[in-house]
């Protein structure tokens, strides 16, 4: 297992290099001058000071050297100073990452808790009304714009019915970590973002369950008198879930990308909203870091998924 994880980590390196090159190149293609952006409205700065600042930031170095310096700093977890907040970018990001993870992890749990039973029901009641219902829900869940669903949630359940808060993480003056108030605030964003996962999972699981259920060992389990529930849970589901693990890649991608929109709609102080606000403020170091960090988190989640996959299916390790 250790060797598998090491090899898998090694495979992530070229991907990481690609992301760094792309992010760096994109910001350097920008027509605007970073010095201008940094100094903003400060007019009492002499041209000499500007030249000195440019030199001290290393902006006169050749691009490859700048790139290497930038990567070297990132390896030391230094993304530079935010133009807007005048604080180290890494501090700002570290404050926000746990908030974003709360949504993603909760959404993942909800997706599994609802998606797996739905997938099994769709397979077992194939061709019946339940199957059709779940199919319609799946297609509709894929087609509905997440941000619009979020807006509808806020408009109906928060503004009109006043059941849920309009946004943010806590009620004013309350900050109690993971308590009821937090959960109450989490319901909106998690419900909206999980729809995408719940739409995805049953479709894949249904196919797998149907495949497994016709296997000989399932017939054997039934004929030796095992109760149907035990057959489904112990024999069918255990095998059908293995390929489903890979589908979590798509679901995670949707969650990470969706965070940008959902955190904005629900005013959730996470990585997505931080990056969005940085983009509005033209705070390049922060935008760069937001893109790199969210990609790294995504790569890391892919890694966890593959480890989980190798763990449930020992054949994978040999590949």
């Amino acid at each position: 297992m250790g060797r598998y994880i090491l090899r898998r980590l090694g495979q992530a390196i070229p991907t990481l290099i690609g992301i760094l090159v792309l992010t760096f190149a994109l910001t350097r293609l920008s027509p605007s001058d970073p010095i201008q952006l940094m100094l903003g409205g400060q007019y009492d700065i002499t041209p000499e000071d500007r030249i000195a600042l440019r030199e001290s930031l290393g902006l006169n170095d050749p691009l490859p050297l700048q790139f290497i310096k930038w990567v070297w700093a990132i390896l030391h977890l230094d993304f530079g100073q935010s133009f807007y907040y005048h604080r180290p970018v890494m501090d700002l990001i570290l404050e926000r990452v746990p908030n974003s993870l709360q949504i993603s992890i909760a959404a993942l749990l909800v997706t599994v808790a609802i998606g797996i039973p739905l997938g099994v029901i769709a397979a077992l009641r194939r061709g019946h009304i339940e199957d059709h219902g779940i199919r319609i829900f799946s297609v509709a869940g894929h087609a509905i714009p997440q941000f619009w669903l979020g807006l509808m949630f806020v408009l109906t359940l928060s503004v009109q019915l006043r059941w849920f808060p309009i946004g943010s993480m806590n009620a004013v003056g309350v900050d109690c970590g993971l308590c009821w108030d937090r959960i109450w605030h989490l319901i909106g964003p998690v419900a909206v973002i999980s729809i995408a996962g719940i739409a995805n999972l049953p479709r894949i699981l249904r196919t797998e369950v149907l495949e497994v259920i016709s296997q000989d060992y399932v017939r054997t389990a039934r004929s030796k008198g095992l109760r149907e529930k035990a057959v489904i849970a112990g024999h069918v589901l255990r095998n059908a879930l293995i390929p489903v693990v890979t589908s979590f890649g798509t679901i995670l991608l949707v969650f990470f990308s969706g965070a940008l929109i959902i955190e904005r709609v629900f005013n959730w102080p996470g990585l997505g909203r931080l990056t969005f606000e940085a983009a509005v403020n033209k705070d390049y170091p922060l935008v760069q870091a937001g893109v790199v960090i969210s990609s790294v988190l995504l790569i890391f989640s892919y890694l966890l998924r593959d480890i989980a996959y190798a763990w449930v299916d020992p054949r994978i390790k040999a590949l």
Binding site: T15, G18, P145, L151, V287, S295
Partner: protein
């Protein structure tokens, strides 16, 4: 896999009257499609949308009597009413007709979705088939590109591009296509790897077929039907992406109306004019839903064996 029996002559065969004999891939598929009410309904809705979007100028001038940018401050925030056609969906904060703006939004969304998907299809097919056929270094490069781009959350990438460049609809569509080809390329590559060792491909190679001819005449025709299905679904996905990125202000810029940036406005005036929020959202939802249904229906029609799954 799916398209083993596909023949390159399919398009030339005339549809037969009786269906117990196969008349070729496309006419068989058309026949099956006609007997699938959901797909037909989705196609009709989609056709209506396209027609309305194409006729936006005509309708705005002769029916609604309003251009999408016409402001009428005196009748701003008017609720939807049947009094005059241009008030059917109400007006926004500047008194612009929502109905007319929705029509032009359809134009932008459908244009970006279809051009983007077409770009993705061409890129994905080109990259995927060549990678699968030549293997080696080129394959490594393509796989690396796909993995890398798949590891950056798409909206974050579009955000950083949106900060640096203000894009008009045409380059924006090309950009979306340039980022949306990954799925198609992956599939094309897998299929090509499977097909290149087939007897008929090996036979063609032995008689001296060039690589280009092999790919164009013997491999691509076998995978194109399902590629078109994937591209169809991609149209829907790109419409969703466009509306999301325009909603947060980094996609299509006002005053050009797009369903996404209409919702930015609607969200801002949620308290004062909540009715503004329904039409653009429903428009995106219905359009994407129909595209997915048509994609699914087309896949079943092209390969009925998949339907049971």
């Amino acid at each position: 896999m799916a398209t083993d029996a596909v023949t390159t002559t399919a398009a030339r065969v005339r549809p037969a009257e009786v269906r117990n004999v196969s008349a070729g891939l496309w006419s068989d598929a058309l026949w099956r499609l006609r007997h699938d009410p959901t797909t037909v309904a989705a196609l009709v809705v989609l056709g209506t949308m396209v027609a309305l979007a194409l006729a936006a100028d005509l309708l705005a001038e002769n029916f609604f009597h309003r251009a999408f940018s016409d402001q009428d401050i005196l009748s701003n925030y008017s609720k939807p009413s049947g009094a005059e056609p241009w008030l059917w969906l109400g007006t926004d904060e500047l008194g612009r007709s929502q109905a007319v703006r929705l029509l032009y939004g359809a134009r932008v969304s459908l244009f970006i979705g279809s051009l983007g998907a077409l770009t993705a299809l061409v890129l994905g097919l080109g990259m995927g088939v060549t990678a699968g056929y030549f293997r080696g270094r080129w394959d490594d490069v393509v796989v690396w590109l796909v993995t890398t781009l798949n590891s950056i959350p798409l909206l974050f990438l579009l955000l950083i591009i949106g900060v640096l460049f203000r894009l008009a609809p045409l380059p924006f569509a090309l950009l979306l296509g340039g980022l949306g080809w990954l799925g198609i390329a992956n599939y094309a590559r897998g299929q090509t790897i499977a097909l290149r060792e087939r007897e008929y491909v090996v036979a063609a190679r032995i008689v001296g077929c060039t690589a280009v001819r092999l790919m164009v005449r013997h491999i691509v025709p076998n995978i194109i039907p399902l590629m078109i299905v994937l591209a169809m679904i991609e149209v829907g996905t790109l419409i969703l992406v466009e509306s999301a990125i325009s909603f947060i202000g980094f996609g299509i810029q006002p005053p050009t109306p797009s369903w996404g940036n209409m919702l930015t406005n609607a969200a801002q005036y949620l308290g004062k004019a909540p009715y503004l929020i329904y039409p653009p959202g429903i428009a995106v939802f219905v359009t994407v839903l129909c595209l997915y249904l048509v994609g699914d229906g087309l896949r079943d029609a092209l390969d009925p064996r998949l339907k049971s799954r």
